[in-house]
């Protein structure tokens, strides 16, 4: 049984725009799954259909084997949803928003009370529980939506851009929280534009573009396909021109103290550093230009590398 099973899902809007062109997607129970894609790729439409806010044109969606067409209520009861945009009543107090959501899922008031306190404490909102939601900061509002999505202890949690606009310290604490939720058995589907986040958290992923799934594989398998990396080198000397080096290194002069170099994955950096050292150039420090997944993502979207066979961890 899959946590989520999508078959031949299509959505054509009334203006004729084909947002989903017959996608197939399977997410294993207990997985931490990334659904990635550029803006307008079809992610939100897909999530909207799963959460039954958007009517599909054709195809099927099953949540833990409950078909949305024939067993909608049971399917919904297994799903927790944190949308990208704030969709709570800003005039309601924090704890009331969560308690109401629990009530909609039929959770008894005593359980709602206990779980609300647990979630608000875990997410650092307990002190704000009596504030109206409009008085919260952006990051707090995001955490409020996570708490709301978890009040009925869903088996499948969809997080649509959960850390958008959240500072790095808070983002990391939210990552820890999500990992813990996943460790306890909740399947999580994450969409994010922070690909570092997806790379660190998710075991499997799908990339959607122009309404089609262009990758559906494990994170490990995808990262294996990356055959080059870009490093940024900070040089002590003043660089007037691009140093000449031998070997498979593509150098680029960024400014008089900075070099960028593309190197094949199997190639050691030692050779390059020695060559630069021989030319009297001293390297102060270096870093990866972008994270690996980001590089792959851009390549895939620009159709630079071939699709890999489907493989999930």
């Amino acid at each position: 049984m899959y946590a989520l099973e999508i078959s031949q899902l299509r959505k054509t809007y009334s203006n004729g725009f084909e947002a989903l062109k017959g996608i197939d997607l399977r997410v294993n129970k207990g997985d931490f799954f990334a659904l990635l894609g550029p803006n307008g790729a079809g992610k939100s439409t897909c999530i909207g259909i799963i959460s039954s806010l958007i009517n599909k044109s054709s195809g099927s969606v099953k949540i833990f084997d409950h078909d949305l067409d024939t067993d909608l209520i049971r399917a919904k009861s297994r799903l927790g949803m944190m949308p990208q945009e704030f969709n709570f009543n800003i005039f309601e107090p924090v704890q009331e928003i969560i308690a109401n959501q629990g009530g909609y899922y039929g959770v008894s008031s005593s359980d709602v009370k206990k779980r609300t306190e647990y979630l608000l404490r875990e997410l650092g909102l307990w002190d704000k529980r009596e504030l109206q939601a409009r008085d919260l900061s952006g990051g707090m509002k995001r955490r409020l939506m996570i708490a709301r999505a978890l009040i009925h202890q869903p088996d499948l949690l969809i997080l649509d851009e959960p850390t958008a606009g959240v500072d790095i310290e808070l983002r990391r604490s939210m990552w820890d929280f999500m990992r813990e939720i996943n460790r306890q058995g909740t399947t999580i589907i994450l969409t994010t534009h922070y690909l570092e986040e997806a790379e660190q958290m998710c075991r499997n992923l799908a990339i959607i573009d122009h309404g089609e799934i262009i990758q559906h594989t494990s994170m490990k398998a995808l990262l294996k396909t990356l055959n080059s990396e870009t490093f940024v080198l900070y040089v002590n000397n003043n660089l007037k021109q691009l140093p000449q080096v031998k070997g498979p290194f593509a150098l680029n002069l960024v400014d008089e103290h900075t070099l960028e170099v593309d190197i094949p994955k199997e190639q050691s950096l030692n050779d390059l550093i020695m060559q630069l050292d021989n030319q009297g150039l001293k390297i102060d420090s270096m870093r990866n230009k972008v994270n690996r997944l980001e590089e792959l993502f851009v390549s895939l979207i620009n159709d630079k590398i071939p699709q890999q066979p489907q493989e999930q961890a």
Binding site: S52, K76, Y104, Y105, R148
Partner: protein
């Protein structure tokens, strides 16, 4: 099955509680204004102009208009509560909290309707209390008073929900009350007996559903009516059935709330 029904009951009470809290929190905007408006009606039409008008159907004018004024408050407030709450939920998208939850549409509908009825009756009660200052309230048939008040509040809560479903801006939620509801209410026999009208307008008035509600409500207080009570209940119930069916159809199709 029993477990599921229990969950639906919790969901229903949650929506109802939320709706009641919503209008209770802003009681200065929701409860007080209709009370002030009706008090002004009593002062102007009852105390100042009423004695010059004389009796209406054997009653003093202020006593005659009292049931209609209470009914007018119930109608406008039950309608306003549901249309503003439903459209507000759509506008700020917190309707999605319910739409993603495992609640059947009928439970969502009943929750909103109960909120509308609660506000209609709360305002109706407040207006009744204020009318004690100006009139000598008689009770002819308490059962008729309660049943007509509840059924009317239900009917206009349904109408408010349909308006809320179709509304795409805040203008849309005031157009129907201003251009349809208010004229029909004023022409529905609050201030006069239709017996005073020429035959043509008497017959035309019979096409106004609010006439049936006001007259049956007036019967509950004063024991007088221009309309047969059985016919009045039949018309009210028929409208409820029609509007309920339309509301369920709209929610099931997701019109105005799902893409």
């Amino acid at each position: 099955m029993k477990n599921r029904l229990h969950k639906y009951w919790i969901a229903y009470t949650t929506i109802t509680r939320k709706e009641v809290l919503r209008f209770s929190r802003i009681w200065v905007q929701t409860i007080i204004p209709p009370v002030v408006t009706v008090a002004l009606y009593f002062i102007i039409f009852g105390n100042l102009i009423g004695p010059r008008i004389g009796e209406m159907d054997g009653m003093s004018y202020i006593d005659f208009i009292m049931p209609g004024l209470i009914m007018m408050s119930i109608i406008t407030n039950s309608y306003a509560n549901v249309v503003s709450s439903f459209y507000g939920a759509k506008f700020s998208r917190h309707i999605e909290e319910m739409l993603v939850s495992p609640i059947p549409n009928v439970v969502i509908l009943l929750g909103f309707l109960t909120g509308g009825i609660a506000r209609g009756l709360a305002v109706g009660l407040a207006v009744t209390v204020i009318s004690l200052v100006f009139t000598n309230i008689q009770i002819h048939n308490l059962w008729v008073i309660f049943s007509v008040a509840i059924l009317t509040a239900l009917l206009f809560s349904l109408a408010g929900l349909i308006n809320g479903v179709y509304a795409t801006s805040f203008d849309d939620i005031s157009i129907i009350p201003t251009f349809v509801l208010t004229p029909l209410t004023y022409l529905g026999g609050i201030f006069y007996s239709i017996q005073l009208l020429p035959d043509f307008w008497q017959n035309a008035s019979l096409g106004n559903p609010i006439l049936y509600m006001i007259n049956s409500f007036r019967f509950g207080f004063l024991g007088i009516t221009d309309i047969n009570l059985g016919l009045a209940f039949s018309v009210i119930i028929a409208f409820i059935v029609i509007l309920f069916t339309i509301s369920m159809h709209l929610l099931n199709r997701g019109i105005g709330i799902r893409t």
